[in-house]
Symmetry: C2
C-alpha cells in the first residue's frame, strides 16, 4: 500500500474513505452475526450459515491453478443467511443504516422481497436484523413488516418507531456479542 | 476463442479438455437440479436455492465500478443446496462420478460431512444427489450412509450396490428433467 503525503488530491481520498467506511459497516454487522452463528453451532443451539457473496466469474487463468483474473459482484437474489433452529427453517437479511429516523428500503432488492415471501409461504421463519448504527441499536423485525412497507409504494423507508413498536431490540452481550436468536424465538414463538 | 489447427501441442489440449469436461459434468448436474428448483418454486412445491460458489477476493479495481482483478475459489464448507419443503429444512450436496462400480468419497470435504451431521442433529433432512454419469443414472441417498462410509476410514468409496439398495433412482422426466424431490419425500417419509 502506498502512503500518500499530505499533498494528495482531496477528492480522491474522500471517495476511498467513504467506500471503506460503508463496506466496514455492513461487514461489522455480518461479522457479529457470523460470530453468533459460530457460537450457536458450537453450543448445538442452531445451524445458521451465511450464503457466499455471488460473484460472476468472467476470466480464469489456469496457468497458476485456477486464478480468477476478471469477475464482478452480482446482486444477492436471496438473502444473507439461512439455517435451521429446532427443526424450523430460518431465513434473514442483515442491513445497517446510519439514519436515525428510519430504515431506507432502497438497498433491498425486489427479488429479496419475493424470496422472503416464498420463505413465509413454505412455512419458514423470515426476518431482518437491522442495525441503526448511529443509535448503536440492533433490532430483529419480522420480514412481513418489511414486505408490507415495500409493497406499499408510498413508503420508501420504515420509520424507526415501527422497530420500537413491532421489532425486538437485541441487547449486546459478552458472548456472543450479538445474541439475536432469543429475539427471533420471542418474536415467532419458537 | 482461438481454433487451433491440428498441429497444436497435444499435452496442452488434453489438459484443457479434461478440465472442461470435468467442469461441465459437475455443471450439468447442478443445472438440472437448479432447473428442478425453478420448477418447484414456480409451482409452489418447495423453495430450494443454490449457495453461490465461495470466492476469496484478493484485489478489486474501483476505477471501473468494483471489478475483481484477482481472486480464487474456496472450498465449499457447507453444501451446494439448501431450502424448505413443507416447513422442513432440506440440505444436500450434488456430486457426479464417471466410475461405474462406486462413488468415490475423495471429493467430499470433511467439513461438508460435519455440516450434514449438524443438519441431521438440528432436525433437517440431509442427503446426496449422485450421478453415475457413465450409467446415466442419478440417485438420491440419505446423507447418513455417506457420513457412515466417510467415518469408517477403511472405505474410500461407496459401492454402486449401496445406491441400488439404499438409494432411490430418480427417473428422468420431461419437466422438470431431474424431478428429484419425490425421491426425497419417499426416502424420508415427508
Amino acid at each position: 500500500m502506498i502512503k500518500y503525503p499530505n499533498g494528495q488530491p482531496k477528492k480522491k481520498t474522500t471517495t476511498v474513505k467513504l467506500a471503506k467506511s460503508a463496506a466496514n459497516r455492513g461487514m461489522e454487522l455480518e461479522k457479529l452475526i457470523s460470530a453468533a452463528n459460530d457460537y450457536y453451532l458450537m453450543h448445538d443451539i442452531a445451524l445458521i450459515t451465511k450464503r457466499p457473496t455471488p460473484i460472476n466469474v468472467v476470466k480464469i487463468n489456469y496457468t497458476k491453478g485456477a486464478r480468477i483474473t476478471d469477475a464482478y459482484f452480482e446482486k444477492q437474489s436471496t438473502t444473507d443467511f439461512n439455517g435451521i433452529y429446532k427443526h424450523r427453517y430460518l431465513d434473514f437479511e442483515a442491513k445497517s443504516t446510519r439514519l436515525k429516523a428510519s430504515f431506507p428500503l432502497n438497498n433491498i432488492h425486489e427479488h429479496q422481497i419475493t424470496h422472503l415471501e416464498n420463505v413465509i409461504r413454505h412455512g419458514g421463519i423470515a426476518f431482518f436484523v437491522v442495525e441503526f448504527a448511529s443509535l448503536n441499536e440492533i433490532y430483529v423485525l419480522a420480514a412481513s413488516h418489511v414486505i408490507g412497507a415495500y409493497k406499499n409504494g408510498e413508503r420508501k423507508s420504515i420509520p424507526y418507531a415501527i422497530f420500537k413498536e413491532k421489532g425486538i431490540l437485541v441487547p449486546l452481550k459478552i458472548n456472543p456479542i450479538l445474541d439475536y436468536l432469543p429475539a427471533v424465538i420471542a418474536m415467532f414463538g419458537l
